[in-house]
């Protein structure tokens, strides 16, 4: 009704102008809601990012009169320094990447297995859920480090059967070192799977029960229906969890690179500029696997769209 009235009363131009005004109003209202976030982004993300990018090409020092910071342009020196002069950073970066390649899949596979079991119907599953989510509550830096220092991160089994010696006997030295290192904080690796378990559990709820029933009537075994129904449905969440784990790993208290970066901040020879350059290199190394995962996720979603 109202539209008809408007059409008769307004000319086409009026109508267009009215619509433009309306969408402008909508946009303004929208920006009103995003305003705090935008201020935050500019102040606490964009500005620091640009600033740290800027100083990563400079040597930062204090002005002679002590009134503030001075910046001397040094080009790519800081970035070169990280790989050529610094004899700690490249090694730690390599070790970190190697560890991440192992830790991230372990965490996600563990989370998947546990969440599949927690998704079954049995008595007391809420209790088990509570247990597996517990570490999120206290996986705090220092408490975690203290437990780790007292050797509580490792599997009890490893100590009892002296597995470390066995591993060193069986595997070549470098591989054995990594495996022993992993085992020594295995429980803590598992502790970082709480959020992932919850995400998987939530993902399972999105698959409707009728699909499973239909598959069962067609004679599919649970094994088959897991691979044909569950797995394709949750594969985006596997990638999401991989990314989440990667991000979490890159900022956890065990990470020696972060310590190295912070040490360089206060180092008189290197300072803020060099530390910022290290931060950017670190960021790039973390973004590499993330971009790969995003790429896989995109291709996957395109494929499923094509089959539909």
């Amino acid at each position: 009704m109202s539209r008809m009235n408007m059409g008769t009363l307004m000319t086409k131009e009026d109508h267009a102008r009215h619509r433009r005004m309306q969408s402008l109003k909508d946009a303004l209202r929208g920006y009103l809601f995003l305003l705090p976030w935008m201020i935050g982004i500019v102040m606490f993300v964009a500005y620091p990012l640009i600033y740290s990018f800027f100083i990563s090409f400079h040597k930062v020092g204090v002005k002679i009169d002590g009134s503030g910071l001075k910046y001397d342009f040094v080009g790519m020196t800081n970035y070169k320094h990280a790989f050529v002069v610094d004899n700690v950073f490249p090694i730690e970066m390599f070790l970190f990447m190697r560890e991440v390649i192992l830790v991230v899949p372990i965490t996600v596979i563990f989370a998947l297995l546990i969440s599949i079991m927690l998704n079954q119907k049995f008595k007391g599953r809420m209790l088990y859920r509570a247990v597996f989510f517990l570490p999120v509550i206290f996986a705090s830096g220092q408490v975690l480090l203290e437990l780790f220092n007292q050797g509580q991160g490792s599997l009890p089994l490893v100590e009892r059967y002296n597995l470390t010696d066995v591993i060193y006997d069986v595997l070549p030295l470098t591989a054995a070192g990594t495996v022993v290192d992993l085992l020594s904080k295995f429980v803590i690796i598992l502790w970082f799977s709480g959020v992932q378990i919850i995400l998987f559990l939530a993902a399972f709820q999105t698959i409707s029960k009728t699909i499973y029933e239909a598959a069962q009537i067609d004679g599919a075994t649970p094994w088959e229906s897991f691979w044909k129904i569950t797995f394709p449905a949750i594969s985006p969440f596997i990638i999401l969890n991989l990314i989440y784990t990667l991000v979490e790993q890159s900022s956890n208290p065990f990470n020696p690179i972060i310590r190295h970066i912070l040490e360089n901040t206060t180092d008189a020879n290197t300072g803020y500029g060099y530390a910022s350059a290290l931060g950017w290199i670190y960021f790039a190394f973390i973004m590499l696997p993330i971009l790969a995962l995003v790429f896989i996720a995109r291709r996957q979603s395109k494929k499923t769209e094509a089959t539909r």
Partner: protein
């Protein structure tokens, strides 16, 4: 070990002859109706509803849960051990005598009550601010017609990926210019602007939640002449209670446990949060011992028990929160519909 060896070899001989008889039985049984029924019970109709499967789940989950809880139990028992129990190889789990004085020392060493209050109010304030600002942003992303919205949301996703450490140096310089160092402001103000600790996740949670609410709500509110702010405040926000709760709980726990930022911005110690106070344990106990005795420069021997008592005291408040709000934590993400 040796006593067991001979009987087992004998048993296997006996078992061999009886095994044949068992085989006959099995064939006869398989055809009977009763067997079919019990088979169904044990293995289940679809494999995953039988007893055997459930038993397997219980065993695996219990083993994993034990593995999970082992360090926590260790923390609790060790915190109650006396110094002599620590070095006694006979005592592994249960202390010979409960040593509550460890907790007394830990409370002194952590400046516990002062730190508890400071950590408490900062965590609560920061998470309330973050909850509010992220709800507003999430609502904007979910419900408002904004040009360039997808670009902005992409930026939100990107901020989640940026390690906070990349930003920490410039922020440190910024805060020192503003004179915010050694005040709680660096922990509070980013929260006010929908940033801060894992702020991107909370925006995403709110966006997903608000997107599930029916469109008619806003339309009818607009018919009644309510502006967007009023609609948000009076209608949408009360409906978002489950999402608000889950965000608040997560934010609170993460703020409580965070020690990277406090360690960076609150260096000089007159404002110490619990998560970072572990490292001052020795020093504080030394000075407490020094003031207690007439001789200066006293050294307090810190042992594992006291450290573990301190660790437990630090995690106790979030643990209590978790005990009460456990099901919101665990079910919350499902309820907020973040996955859809």
């Amino acid at each position: 070990m040796n006593d067991g060896q001979i009987p087992t070899s004998e048993k296997s001989k006996v078992g061999h002859s009886s095994l044949k008889r068992l085989d006959d039985w099995r064939i006869r049984l398989r055809t009977s109706e009763g067997m079919q029924k019990s088979r169904m019970l044990i293995f289940g109709r679809h494999f995953n509803d039988g007893w055997l499967f459930k038993l397997a789940i219980y065993i695996i989950l219990s083993a994993a849960a034990l593995l999970y809880l082992n360090p926590v139990v260790y923390m609790l028992t060790t915190s109650l051990k006396h110094g002599t129990d620590l070095v006694n190889p006979m005592i592994q789990w249960i202390p010979s005598k409960l040593e509550w004085s460890n907790y007394a020392s830990a409370i002194i060493g952590l400046h516990y009550w002062k730190s508890l209050i400071q950590t408490g109010w900062i965590s609560i304030a920061a998470s309330l601010l973050q909850m509010g600002s992220c709800a507003i942003a999430g609502y904007g992303f979910a419900r408002m017609r904004i040009p360039g919205k997808s670009v902005f949301f992409f930026i939100v996703l990107l901020t989640f990926l940026i390690p906070p450490q990349t930003l920490s140096i410039p922020l440190y310089v910024l805060y020192s210019k503003l004179g915010w160092l050694n005040t709680p402001l660096p922990l509070l103000v980013p929260g006010l602007f929908a940033q801060g600790l894992k702020g991107a996740i909370f925006i995403i949670i709110f966006r997903q939640f608000f997107a599930t609410l029916p469109k008619e709500l806003e339309e009818s509110a607009r018919m009644d002449g309510a502006g967007p702010l009023k609609t948000f405040w009076r209608i949408m926000l009360p409906l978002a209670r489950p999402a608000l709760l889950i965000v608040f709980l997560f934010s609170f726990v993460w703020h409580w446990n965070d020690y990277y930022e406090p360690a960076l911005y609150l260096k000089n110690g007159d404002f110490t949060l619990l998560a970072q106070s572990m490292q001052f344990l020795q020093g504080n106990l030394n000075s407490a011992a020094a003031t207690g005795s007439s001789m200066g420069g006293s050294y307090f021997s810190l042992n594992e028990s006291i450290t573990m008592a301190a660790a437990f005291l630090i995690i106790a408040p979030p643990l209590i929160v978790y005990m009460f709000a456990q099901r919101y934590f665990v079910e919350g993400i499902e309820r907020t519909g973040i996955v859809e």
